[in-house]
């Protein structure tokens, strides 16, 4: 299966094929043959020869579609897409047709809305301020554009994953 994966802003081609306990993989042309000793509840115990790689994969609670992978003490955020199923491309962030959603990363309360519908914003501009755990966090525009929707007002309670605003 040929997949596209994004990690730290870099795109990678990921090909994985399993055969019983063997995994054949190719990452940007680098070939790996691994043994898979366990695969339960998102835990993948992989062996490259004798080398143990204890991997854990979970779906990000904050950003739907994003996979969080732990390899030992390292943590990676990976967005995997199947080029043949573009409609299933992972949700949050920048969309292909040019709109971007600002998604609450944690539950909290909206303290201030800094823009209005129709405002022109630069990438990185503050859009809303959300308070959680007694700290205020400014949610920033992931790209420049026009604010086309604001889905809440000051004082509203938001849950992780809620779309707060959309920029086009």
């Amino acid at each position: 299966m040929k997949l596209a994966a994004e990690l730290d802003g870099q795109d990678h081609e990921v090909i994985v094929r399993t055969e019983e306990h063997a995994v054949f993989a190719r990452i940007d042309g680098r070939a790996y043959e691994l043994q898979i000793n366990s695969a339960a509840h998102g835990e993948y115990l992989l062996l490259a020869g004798n080398e143990v790689h204890n991997c854990r994969v979970e779906n990000s609670a904050q950003r739907p579609g994003l996979l969080v992978v732990h390899v030992g003490t390292r943590r990676y955020e990976i967005n995997v897409t199947d080029p043949r199923r573009l409609n299933r491309s992972a949700g949050a962030g920048v969309h292909h047709h040019g709109s971007a959603e600002i998604v609450a990363s944690m539950p909290g309360k909206v303290v201030r809305v800094l823009v209005e519908i129709g405002s022109q914003v630069e990438a990185g501009a503050g859009i809303v301020v959300v308070e959680a755990m007694k700290m205020q966090n400014e949610m920033k525009a992931p790209k420049g554009g026009v604010v086309v929707s604001i889905n809440l007002e000051a004082g509203a309670t938001v849950n992780a994953g809620d779309v707060l605003a959309v920029i086009e």
């Binding site: 040929k2 990921v14 399993t18 990452i27 994969v57 609670a61 990676y76 990976i78 755990m133």
Partner: protein, 531 residues
């Protein structure tokens, strides 16, 4: 001895106190807010009473509800833990009035030591050195200017009711005084409802060292040595150790005597901590404040002295004499504790609440983990994000660091971000390993990390090592496997009624589907070769 104790707290400290109750065969009663109905401390208690909605002012800080819960369950004593009502004299008074034993000092002592200015007066009266500064609260900005000139800059502005770094400002020069005065005052008023400030001479490269004291109702007052708490972020302790890397028995004895003197002079009862600033160069020490409660970092003292401070708190509150004398206190080896917070160290320590999807705590020689959560627990937005305290003991500081590093690497907490990665870097830092600690450590540590991540033009940018590429590739493979499984699981459910199959049979089936699709969709050359 009490038969039943109510624990007016939550999280890891409630769990810690429940354990001491179990050791003493005392029945523990838990309190919980609506947000904590299934929390770990509730699961571990014999009885649990809901004291209100999630907001702590309406639940854990609700004095009437807490006392009503003690009455309802017939608890004979209340342990306040730390934070919440632990240093609230009104609460201690209300508990006394309800004829319930408060596990801690009397309300009057709490009141004297609770205000930084009256605590300073008590220290001065006991003959203990204090940082040169005002004993009475500042009356005006003009007075602040005068005093600052007299001691010389840098000076420190502090809120009388302060704590946790709020209302605290370091002022380097006269030009900064006005704005620092205004912010400290408004912060103090917002945080504590009290804008009273005082001013101290700032100690250069100060170490923050505290002495654990213990007093019983029979006139015995002892100290259990020091804890080094210099590693602080925004004036909050992050890593604590016992003994201090200074490890000077003479200094320990002098500071211990000073702390005992203060505790004795105010008629202290139970566990308390006297905080000092120690000038790194001269080893002069100054009284800072006294905390009239158990400290978050008590485990390092327990590991090095072998005494159980919470057990001792309970027995002393029940009227028993201390189980040891000053001469019996011995310090063996070295202990270091990390406070594991649900905060994202890669995003300016922003809180990271959520469900802990997976948790595996480290174990093995010399390791102690005091956690308030388990796999499946929710870290709520309503409370302090401290989820666990990981402590390591070794016969030397080097061995303690080795064990701590191993345990930090072993610790797995998924679903939320934690400060574990931050600690993994600190225990590998040369300055930390060398024990060069003062309150500026974190700032310097972060500068070093930043310089490594952003090498200047004269330096060669680090190439990602082959090992690193390999690890990233492994992560991508795991992600690919997971993605494939998830999408297969969805299409399998769509296609046919689910069969009762083991994970392995399912994965075998995926494998067949996989190889079929590879054969159908790809040319033979696209099949990955073996390495």
């Amino acid at each position: 001895m009490f038969r039943k104790i109510l624990i007016a707290n939550r999280g890891e400290i409630a769990v810690r106190i429940i354990r001491a109750c179990r050791d003493l065969d005392v029945s523990p009663v838990a309190l919980y807010s609506e947000a904590d109905a299934d929390a770990l401390h509730v699961r571990m208690a014999d009885e649990a009473v809901c004291v209100g909605p999630p907001a702590s002012v309406e639940s854990y800080l609700n004095i009437e509800a807490v006392i009503a819960a003690a009455r309802k369950t017939g608890a004979e004593a209340i342990h306040p833990g730390y934070g919440f009502l632990a240093e609230n004299a009104d609460f201690a008074r209300a508990v006394e009035a309800a004829s319930i034993q408060f596990i801690g000092p009397s309300a009057n002592v709490m009141q004297v030591m609770g205000s930084k200015t009256s605590a300073r007066r008590a220290a001065v009266a006991a003959g203990v050195p204090v940082v040169p500064g005002t004993v009475a609260p500042l009356q005006s900005f003009a007075e602040a200017q005068q005093v600052a000139e007299r001691y010389g800059y840098p000076v420190m502005l502090k809120a009388s009711a302060g704590g946790g770094g709020k209302g605290m400002r370091l002022v380097d020069s006269a030009a900064e005084l006005q704005s620092a005065f205004d912010t400290a005052q408004s912060e103090a008023s917002a945080a504590f409802g009290d804008s009273e400030l005082y001013l101290e001479k700032a100690v250069e490269r100060p170490r923050h060292i505290e002495i654990q004291v213990f007093a019983d109702a029979h006139g015995n007052v002892v100290h259990l040595g020091e804890r080094e708490c210099s590693i602080q972020r925004r004036h909050q302790k992050v890593i604590e150790e016992c003994p201090s890397p200074i490890n000077d028995p003479d200094l320990r004895a002098r500071m211990g005597e000073a702390a005992v003197l203060i505790a004795r002079s105010v008629g202290y009862l139970g566990a308390g901590t006297v905080e000092f600033l120690v000038a790194d160069a001269t080893r002069e020490f100054y009284f800072l404040e006294m905390n009239t409660r158990l400290q978050v970092e008590h485990p390092v003292t327990e590991l090095v002295t072998g005494f159980d401070l919470v057990r001792e708190q309970i027995t002393v509150a029940a009227g028993a004499p201390l189980s040891f004398t000053q001469a019996e206190v011995r310090w063996s080896g070295h202990a270091i504790e990390c406070r594991v917070y649900a905060e994202d160290p890669d995003n300016n320590f922003f809180p990271s609440p959520g469900i802990i999807s997976f948790l595996q705590a480290p174990a093995g020689p010399g390791i102690r983990d005091d956690a308030g959560v388990r796999s499946g627990s929710e870290v709520s937005i309503h409370y302090d994000p401290l989820i666990s305290k990981l402590a390591a003991w070794g016969s030397t500081r080097v061995e303690a660091i080795d064990r701590l590093r191993r345990a930090l690497d072993e610790y797995q907490i998924d679903g939320i971000r934690t400060t574990l990665p931050f600690f993994r870097r600190i225990v590998r830092d040369d300055e930390f390993i060398a024990g060069q600690l003062d309150t500026g450590f974190i700032a310097r540590f972060q500068d070093r990390a930043w310089n490594r991540a952003h090498p200047g033009a004269h330096q060669v940018a680090e190439q990602s090592s082959p090992d690193e590429t390999r690890q990233r590739d492994l992560a991508l493979i795991a992600a690919g496997l997971h993605y494939t499984r998830q999408s297969k699981a969805i299409s399998l459910c769509d296609a046919a009624a689910p069969e009762t199959a083991s994970g392995w049979r399912l994965s075998g089936r995926f494998a067949r589907l996989d190889s079929r699709s590879t054969l159908a969709k790809s040319s033979p050359t696209a099949v990955p070769e073996t390495e």
